[in-house]
């Protein structure tokens, strides 16, 4: 699976990098390619390129915030998940998203 995504939280301080790291680590454990861009106080960190977006199976938005540059993901299935859930159970989140995408196909 190729997964790209964006994490963002209200302060853009702590939960943003935590969710990104947790999801990327879970991705590694699953043997998937997971790259999460952090849209926090530092501006975009670990930015997703157009090319990376193009080959992604789905886009995971770990946030209830406004996300910038969503046009990169046009045509891709986008799933929004609560950021705390992503930190708490990153592997379950990734698996559930993948299952949801499969169902839609």
């Amino acid at each position: 699976m190729n997964v790209v995504g964006v994490s963002a939280c209200p302060a853009g301080l702590a939960h943003t990098p935590m969710a990104a790291k947790a999801l990327e680590k879970a991705g590694k454990e699953l043997g998937w390619n997971v790259k999460i861009e952090q849209q926090g106080m530092m501006g975009p960190v670990n930015a997703i390129t157009q090319e990376e977006a193009k080959i992604a199976d789905f886009v995971l938005i770990a946030s209830d915030q406004k996300i910038t540059s969503m046009e990169r993901f046009e045509g891709k299935p986008v799933i929004r998940v609560d950021i705390n859930t992503c930190i708490k159970a990153p592997k379950a989140v990734l698996k559930k998203c993948a299952a949801a995408i499969k169902k839609e196909d």
């Binding site: 209200p10 302060a11 301080l13 702590a14 790291k21 947790a22 680590k25 926090g40 106080m41 530092m42």
Partner: protein, 153 residues
């Protein structure tokens, strides 16, 4: 990346005895005046409370990371509190909180090295080893050195 920061033992508080999240946040805000993070304990306290109301900053394994983002913060940084009695707190694993990192930033003009340090601290809290080792330590200086070492990379 080398981060020039110094988390000193003056920012470490052990055996902190508070009976509620609100009283702890008030205590943290007062301590933040002494440690030079703010001159306005009241405004800082309000920012901590507002953020906590938005959604709990409780994590798991007994950790919580209350944070304040307000112009009342004079320098970005954090304080560490170890509680004498576990506090009831909304956490991922429904466990009470024993260890608290209070994060503080002004809304603008924060140097990226400070933000990086806070991000490093936050992601260190995903690591089981970090939490376990930290908990084992009882000496303020040892704790400060350990944190510096682990998040200054």
């Amino acid at each position: 990346m080398i981060i020039k920061m110094n988390f000193s033992q003056e920012n470490v508080f052990l055996n902190v005895s508070e009976s509620s999240i609100n009283s702890l946040l008030k205590y943290i805000s007062e301590v933040a005046v002494i440690t030079g993070y703010t001159t306005d304990a009241k405004a800082l306290n309000k920012s901590f409370i507002d953020r906590e109301k938005e959604f709990s900053t409780g994590l798991e394994d007994g950790f919580a990371i209350p944070h304040a983002k307000t112009a009342a913060v004079k320098k970005a940084g954090f304080l560490y509190f170890r509680l004498a009695n576990p506090l009831k707190w909304q956490t991922y694993d429904d466990q009470p909180v024993t260890d608290v990192f209070a994060l503080m930033v002004p809304p603008q003009n924060v140097g990226n090295e400070h933000l990086k340090m806070l991000a490093n601290l936050s992601t260190a809290l995903l690591e089981h080893d970090f939490k376990k080792e930290l908990r084992r330590m009882t000496n303020r200086n040892e704790i400060a050195n350990f944190i510096n070492e682990r998040i200054g990379e």
